[in-house]
Amino acid sequence: MNAEDLDTVYTDLCRAMTAVGEAQAPILLARFALLAIVEIADAGRLRRLIAAAAEDLAEATGKRES
């Protein structure tokens, strides 16, 4: 996948989330993750991706005092 394709798909996902609204967006992401899981279909790789997504999560997104 080249940078332009990545960019396009990224934007498509943002638009899909925006369209369903903030309340439903986590469910949309969960469904998307599930479909990506069965498509990737490689348990080892998927476990590494789940770990990578969780790694540093608090540090990378945690709220700070402003």
Binding site: E55, A60, E65
Partner: protein, 578 residues
Amino acid sequence: MADASAPRTGRAFAPYPFVPERFPAALPPLRDGVDRSRHRVAIVGAGPVGYCVAIGLAVQGIDSVLIEADDSVCAGSRAICISRRSLEIIDRLGALPGFLATGLPWTGGRSFYREREVLRFTMPNDANQRLPPMLNLAQYHIEQILLERARELSDRIDLRWQTRLTGLEPHADGVRARLATPLGDYALEADWLVATDGGRSVVRESLGLALTGTNYEGRYVIVDVAMPSDRPTERLAFFDPPCNPGSTVLVHKQPQDVWRIDYQLRRDEDAEAAVRPENVLPRVESLLAMIGETAAWAPIWISLYRANALTLERYRHGRVLFAGDAAHLVPIFGVRGANSGIDDADNLAWKLAAVLQGLATDRLLDSYSEERVAAAKENLRHGTKSTEFMAPPSFAFEWMRTAVLGLAVRHESVRSLINPRQTSPIAYTGSSLSRAVESSADFAAGPAPGSVLVEAPLGPRTPSPRAADGHGAYLTQLLGSHFTLLHFSKGGTLPADLGGLDAEMRGLGIRWHTVLIDPGTDDASATLAARYDAANGASYLVRPDGHVLARWRRCAAKDVRLAVARVLDRIGAHGGGG
């Protein structure tokens, strides 16, 4: 609430290190309140785009009157980055030395998320280039340098300061403009009017036209500060920085120790309060402390920016042509505003000149609208992408950006999403001008019809009139106000029938320059021929604006004649059949 004139920080404002010259209003000789001269072209708005149109017409031999409401070049912080493509255009207009003498060249930048660097990017740059990918200088410098060039051409450019357009009557064969000056009002008639009067175009309003597209909610504060620093020229972006949590901050170095800082406002911030010095200066102070700048600094300018992605549907309305911000408003991110306007001017000048010189029918100007509307749409597409990252328009774009920035530290594969997508030359793919001419389809390399020339050094024996010593220059220096036929020939001879084209075209009044490149003479010529897939006998025909019109494996004079006739819409006139 603190008084804006006495900010809590006690920091005094400094002036720009540039004092604009003020120009008086003047009235032309009038008859019954009307300018006695009917003008061929009136250009409304002496900003960067208006100057480029006027200078572009002048180098084509066309006179114009350039009308400016103000009494000097602009003030404040506006366009700050000029692209390589714009510099090539400015070179053809004869104003490049001033830009290179004043501007700060740069090639890339860095982005940070919180404390960590998450992207280092470089813009396309290699040994084949003569000009930097980007040059920073303030818009008042841009306008001043173009003004000086316009004054050199004052026999062709009639510049009228403190002259404001108050009304416009379009006619089938021209326009009548109503103008107001401190010395009195008058009307002016012109065959054509070019509207370069900016985002709040009076011309556009007078014709009842509106821009359509998207207005974004995200707002940025723009601050210029005076600060001496040896820091290199690069684009710095800080996402959610410790100095301004939740915000995005951009930093650009400008000439003469001026620094431009742009930062995003939070959704809940009040716009009016946000631009008050007591709210702005502490944020600047903490940013400068964060990046380790300890020198004394002073604010110069504060304003508010909101991104728009808007365009007119057409840039030609009878005898009125729109260019620059009057035609389209492109988001600030990716620096496509002034740069796309300069490209508009470049596309328009040679076409309008050809129509006024009787070389082409006015349909050539429809191709101006077609090509530049298509370019604006591409600029808006890229600019929108940049804006969606820099000023996320919904919770979704914000969540996803947080994901990208957090993952980018360890995962290189997502970093391209942070790239600021700086402006790059646009190809007129599918343009009716390229489609009207048959090119050879089997080139494996080199710019396709509609694209701009790809820069390359020339061999020492390729004559280049515009290089300092006449030789050893770069390909784009062969361009000028003329069509250019690049012919590749081993042995360095022009086929007999192509040899007569220079004289033939000039005889018709068409500015023309045939250049012979012999791939056998030296390495640079051989490399150029290879990069253009130009074997013995191949030719590229290049428009005055540097876009390739056609290319042929082998061409005869009749192919070239037909191509020119098609583009100028002269089928049936001389040379139509070839």
